[in-house]
Symmetry: C2
Subunit: 250 residues, 2 copies
DNA sequence: AAAATAGTGTCTATGAGACACTATAGT
DNA sequence: ACTATAGTGTCTCATAGACACTATTTT
């Protein structure tokens, strides 16, 4: 990004006299959808709200942005403190600011999505305040719209605020970017088979893909490279393990 | 979007006791890039800052979001009051929130881009505080990065704050969405020739396109339809005029 | 040997690019 | 008639999908 523009003497004088309390201000929060793929379904981490408003409803991990904190940093702080994950793929999604989206006061939410291998969720599942919900997408392609979240019994969960809309945007963005960005691998462990990668793509896109064409596209993309190793403990011929290419080929 | 979630009695009690001044809050602004294509170049409306900080530098039209105002509404208000345009294509782009991006105080900017036919700029050009700058994109494809703005003599303009970054994001988004969204027409008058549409695409993408393939793709897309009319006052065979399709074909 | 999935070779359908040609306006 | 651009028909090439086949592991 651009360096901070140097202040002029006039700016310095202006700033000395400036009072930041002159205008009413909204609250600004970040909300993060921590997404993975497991068991042929899209999954997202939800937290039960322990305080009013909307106590008991399920919400994305979120928090208010601190005054001296970058937006991305706020999202990573939320991921670290509320979901216990660090160093994951993270991208800004959209900013939601309808005046009545939060009953407390005006809260503008800068939303993010983060992608992880399902194994990262394992340590969380013990807590009752956490839930790894299944996403149910009621539309095809990149049509968009709210999505619903279900628990392990298939019962629909009551989501807080506009979080069903936010999750709809997450799925739409994932479907749109999957084919021309390095997203799919982020949902898998460091070493993965082509079949596993194809399953991830199929779950995200919500439709089956052609095996031959998928293999060709992935190998030709230069985004992954073979490791020479093979998967272990499978009931059939083991597939070769791939990893993210160190340097993306041109 | 989702309807507002009904308040529970507990929520009502919580809200009666809630003090919105408990946490320090950043300022939230919208900045809008009003973009068109003219003379084979991308153009954007800039305003000279009349007040400190950074007085005299060129900035995107912007303003602070009011407490009861939706983000999109704030962007439309800025377009109306500072650029004199209404009813144009408008889309949220990205939210910039680096803590030091504005020297006054913490200002988080939700940025938008708007697309217009160049004729909409005609009435503005008289004012010295307005300037329709030419964008100079120093990268290819969707690589991204800041872009520079130049005046009619080709001299580079000093942009305020991080607006060179914002404009870079605008160009990147336009290039990414042009092929599978109804964007190109928004930069043209209501009736346009296929050649004019191709020129718009070429200017946005920064590279020449194949004429035959472009015609086929556009006609097959179902996004435009022929009017039966022809262009007037040209020195050669007149081309047919097209318009945006009333109902997008499946 | 049987079962199951990995991985390869080849044919076909589709769409983009290239190119040649015809059509129609103004001068 | 000449010039310039609009618009069409056809060939080629690249890529996705379909399908058949071979390969390699466990039981």
């Amino acid at each position: 990004m651009s360096p901070r523009v140097p202040e002029t003497p006039e700016d310095a004088a202006f700033l000395a006299a400036y009072s930041p309390a002159a205008f009413p201000r909204p609250s600004v929060a970040v909300d993060v959808a921590l997404v993975t793929v497991h068991g042929g379904r899209l999954r997202v981490l939800l937290l039960a709200r322990s305080e009013a408003p909307q106590r008991g409803r399920w919400a994305l991990p979120g928090g208010f942005v601190r005054l001296d904190e970058d937006l991305d940093a706020a999202a990573r702080r939320v991921l670290s403190t509320k979901a216990g994950v660090e160093g994951v793929y993270l991208e800004q999604l959209y900013t939601f600011g309808s005046p009545d989206r939060d009953p407390r006061t005006r809260v503008i939410s800068v939303t993010y999505y983060a992608l992880v291998d399902h194994a990262r969720f394992a340590r969380l599942s013990a807590t009752s305040a956490h839930l790894v919900a299944t996403l149910d997408v009621p539309w095809e392609g990149e049509e968009g719209g709210p999505v619903s979240a279900r628990d392990e019994h298939g019962d629909e969960l009551a989501l807080a605020f506009d979080h069903a809309d936010i999750l709809g945007h997450v799925v739409k963005r994932l479907r749109g970017k999957l084919d021309y960005a390095a997203l799919g691998f982020q949902l898998l462990p460091p070493r993965f088979t082509l079949r596993a990668l194809q399953t991830v793509h199929e779950v995200v896109l919500g439709r089956p893909l052609n095996k031959d064409s998928f293999r060709r596209r992935m190998l030709a993309s230069g985004r992954i490279e073979p490791t020479g190793e093979q998967e272990q403990d499978v009931l059939h011929r083991p597939a070769e393990l791939f990893r993210i290419a160190r340097k993306s080929a041109v």
